[in-house]
Symmetry: C2
Subunit: 223 residues, 2 copies
């Protein structure tokens, strides 16, 4: 691999790590806005998404430049197409964090609706998955990538439990239905963020093993 | 462009068109299962997703082969990376159709919950967007792609109206809440299918105009 290609690949990796950092920050703020009914913070998340979008555009352009300039083959080619896929996933996660922030805004209106405790834990787990999926990409660590894929089961468990909890709250009082739907949406968005992190981890396994594991995760010990 | 590259590109285009056909079929069946509480049809959709996943894997592998073999540049390079992006979008749409089918399964349990009329119209519109976004890719028709992007506003309108309708039904009777949430999820899934079609249309505009329009659709007349 040429020195220039090594340098360009390094730069691409730094770029997606910094994009992932923005996404994590955005998610963390959106959840805080949801829990604390903080409309200012929610607006910050919505506005911040423009930066995430711009970064995704930038990285996509850079990937195409690197592909055209170096015409890489084999593992290097796969690595760059992985960056393309990963930055699409990160951008969509950013959109999801923005949608959570929009749900937070609607929760600011009365009546008061208590956000279940588990939402924060579920979001923390999703955030860990985002970080570790990127780490597994940078270090080409298949074991870590597999761990991320398995963590998604735990997120699904939170998802189910929280939805049951919500149905109960909504059942208790029809006045809670609209806000209940907002929290329901937010929980589904967190679940999808975790799905995107899982996609990234599966891309890493594909990159290292050279075979597409997506859609057949059960092969490596997932329930 | 070499004859071989022309042939391979043609094949890739045929492949994603046939993948899009599978996705459309899957969506149409899932909606019918939802409306008619047809558990057999719903199961068919869930099982059919395996084929969609396998097709996506196949097309991804083919794209990488074409990239490695022909090392295309400029528009050809963008075209192949577009195929990569588009087939990811199609696969996710397939997953969403599967999720709608799962919601259909839970609606088969009592009590009877009437699916609002508008759901079919919303799904038809999303399906048209899928078909036309692919058509715009094959014919590199920017005008058609822009039309697809604008159709997404109408889908969003359906989304809002249907959710209001649902809140009303759920308000009227707490026994409806669980099924109401299932229909709510299905509507959100249709909306996301339309979003993926919009992504494809935006990719087409990018491909032809050479500039990333994603995230700045307002520039071409979207409200």
């Amino acid at each position: 691999m040429s020195k220039h290609l090594v340098r360009d690949l390094d730069q691409l990796q730094k770029d997606i790590l910094s994009l992932a950092g923005l996404v994590e920050q955005s998610l963390s703020k959106a959840i805080r806005a949801l829990k604390e009914r903080d409309i200012v913070l929610a607006r910050e998340v919505v506005q911040g998404d423009t930066l995430i979008d711009a970064e995704e555009n930038h990285i996509t352009e850079e990937c195409l430049k690197v592909l055209a300039l170096h015409q890489p083959v084999a593992i290097d080619l796969r690595r760059i197409t992985s960056v393309l896929m990963i930055c699409t996933d990160l951008e969509r996660m950013g959109d999801l964090a923005e949608e959570i922030a929009e749900r937070a805004m609607s929760l600011c209106r009365p009546p008061f609706f208590p956000v279940p405790e588990g939402v924060q834990r579920m979001a923390d787990l999703a955030s860990t998955m985002v970080r570790q999926s990127l780490d597994s990409f940078v270090s080409l660590d298949v074991k870590l990538a597999m761990r991320v894929v398995r963590m998604d089961d735990e997120v699904d468990r939170y998802n189910r439990e929280l939805i049951q909890e919500l149905v109960k709250v909504m059942n208790d009082s029809p006045a809670n239905i609209e806000h209940g739907l907002s929290v329901f949406s937010a929980i589904r968005h967190i679940e999808r963020i975790a799905d995107h992190a899982t996609n990234i981890a599966e891309d890493v396994i594909y990159l290292v093993e050279g075979e597409i594991v997506r859609h057949r995760v059960e092969d490596f010990g997932r329930k």
